[in-house]
């Protein structure tokens, strides 16, 4: 029986582990998967040195054929042969690049799964999503986009603070604006074309019973109504617009500690909005897509070090900062008596 090529074996194993990854529900399962990875020939990496040499030689040869054909004014058929040789040389190279990309993607995915577990986050399958229709109706944030609006990702989380604990959903919302562009060329001919602009917003939704009908926006969506309110801080007023059904409520909510917390949060997140709905939910939205980002310091080729980094708690500092701000809002809005 012929022995399997080590590169093909690795590609197969990675594809198999990739399928298992979404089913991992706790750290022990994740570590068991690493144990299985440890059984593969180490270090975990593709060995394509020979292939690089062969491909380089094939490419050089095809260039040489093309140059000689040009200089000797030979038959143009030789050009086609040179091009075909170059293409044939490139195919294994592209396959190798695809495999390397898959391995890197798997490493990142594995590390991200670990970060989710460490931060009590669960990536929800579409079938498990809570009904999003009432969010779309409740918050002006989701009325952006005149062509398409959709949630791309929902992650469920739980925060436990010194005084308050709460469940929340992290969301990724995608919307598309459709517009018509009219242009005139040098001959005066007018042409129109339809352009689709794609945008993404990210954020959290959580229950917030202490404040309703208040909107604090750095990137306001259309349809936010209410009286305008200015705080005591000139810097806060430059960063945010505040609208409330009742300005007294805005004044009560925007205590100095909350103003400072939001000023600091706005320095960390672009286009930050907070919308407190009538139904007692808070929708925080922003443009930063890296709030849940976590990059591994080591690759799978250094499996022992990679495992050590997985065993350590993985921090998501931007998310933690945001959750601390929410906790701060709750602490200063509730009643201590």
């Amino acid at each position: 029986m012929a022995t399997k090529n080590p590169n093909s074996a690795l590609a197969e194993a990675i594809a198999q582990f990739n399928q298992q990854l979404p089913q991992i529900g706790n750290k022990a399962e994740l570590l068991r998967l690493l144990d299985k990875l440890a059984l593969l020939p180490q270090p975990i990496r593709y060995h394509y040195k020979q292939r690089w040499y062969l491909c380089s030689a094939g490419l050089l040869l095809s260039i040489l054929v093309a140059v000689l054909t040009y200089q000797l004014h030979a038959d143009t058929l030789l050009y086609y042969i040179a091009a075909a040789m170059a293409l044939i040389s490139l195919i294994p190279l592209l396959i190798a690049l695809h495999h390397i990309h898959q391995l890197n993607k798997f490493t990142k995915q594995l590390y991200w799964q670990n970060a989710l577990l460490d931060n009590q986050l669960t990536l929800l399958k579409k079938a498990d999503w809570p009904p999003t229709a009432h969010w779309l109706q409740q918050f002006a944030e989701f009325k952006r986009g005149n062509y398409k609006r959709e949630f791309k990702q929902l992650i469920q989380g739980q925060f436990t603070g010194s005084e308050h604990s709460f469940a929340y959903h992290y969301w990724h919302f995608h919307y598309v604006n459709r517009r018509t562009e009219v242009s005139t060329n040098s001959k005066g001919q007018v042409t129109t074309r339809v352009v689709y602009d794609h945008f993404d917003r990210y954020g959290l939704i959580l229950p917030f019973a202490y404040c309703r009908n208040l909107f604090i926006t750095a990137f306001a969506a259309e349809g936010i109504k209410g009286e305008r309110y200015s705080s005591d801080s000139g810097r806060f007023n430059k960063l945010f617009q505040v609208r409330a059904a009742d300005t007294m409520q805005a004044a009560r909510f925007l205590k100095p500690a909350i103003i400072i917390a939001l000023e600091e949060q706005a320095a960390a997140l672009k286009q930050l909005n907070l919308a407190f709905s009538e139904q007692g939910e808070l929708c925080i939205s922003f443009a930063d897509k890296n709030v849940l980002d976590s990059q591994p310091a080591y690759g799978l080729d250094q499996l022992a070090l990679f495992r050590q980094s997985i065993e350590q708690p993985t921090a998501l500092p931007k998310l933690q900062q945001l959750l601390n701000t929410v906790h701060q809002l709750l602490r200063h809005s509730d009643s201590n008596f």
Partner: protein, 187 residues
């Protein structure tokens, strides 16, 4: 033609001067509002004083010392006026608060049953939140002061101020203990 350019230039200068003049007034108003906010936050302590007095009655050994600290704080709060930016008076109030809090911390160690009581803990939590708000209000006041001071000192604002507004620098409030009261730091 030249007269038109000159008139246009004069109008432009006038608009700029009016904008700078109004900007200085707006920033001064923000400073005053910031100060009034600090005083409002400080006066919130008045609501806590009756509760504190009630609690200190239970600290028999420390009652006298704590009562005098409360009296000191009460008179300090009465001296604070929203219309007058008096950072020395604010410093005194903050000093009294710190003294009272230190006294309470020492006293409570001798009464573990009180330390475990919900009412006492709620009171301490409320005081801690108040102190955070005072620290934050001071920070907002200082931010507004910085914006105002920059607004009268940079050129050409300094020229407009010396000729028209005639405002002087406002001294920011610096008290490391009061600022430390604002415990919340983003991690």
């Amino acid at each position: 033609m030249e007269l038109g350019i000159l008139l246009g230039l004069a109008a432009l200068i006038l608009v700029v001067v009016v904008m700078i003049y109004n900007g200085i007034i707006t920033r001064m108003n923000a400073v005053e509002r910031g100060w009034a906010n600090v005083i409002t936050q400080e006066r919130q302590k008045n609501k806590m004083i009756p509760h504190l007095e009630q609690v200190t009655e239970q600290f028999k050994q420390h009652e006298m010392g704590l009562q005098s600290s409360i009296a000191e704080l009460r008179s300090g709060l009465a001296r604070l006026q929203p219309g007058t930016i008096d950072t020395a008076a604010l410093q005194q109030v903050e000093g009294s608060t710190q003294k009272l809090m230190q006294g309470l911390t020492i006293a409570v160690e001798a009464y573990p049953e009180l330390k475990a009581s919900e009412i006492f803990n709620n009171l301490m939590r409320e005081i801690a939140e108040q102190q955070e708000n005072i620290g934050a209000a001071i920070r907002i006041f200082n931010q507004n002061v910085e914006d105002f001071n920059n607004g009268i000192e940079v050129f050409p604002n300094s020229l407009v101020n010396s000729l028209l507004n005639k405002k002087t620098r406002v001294t920011p409030f610096h008290d490391s203990e009061a600022e430390a009261g604002f415990e919340y730091k983003l991690r």
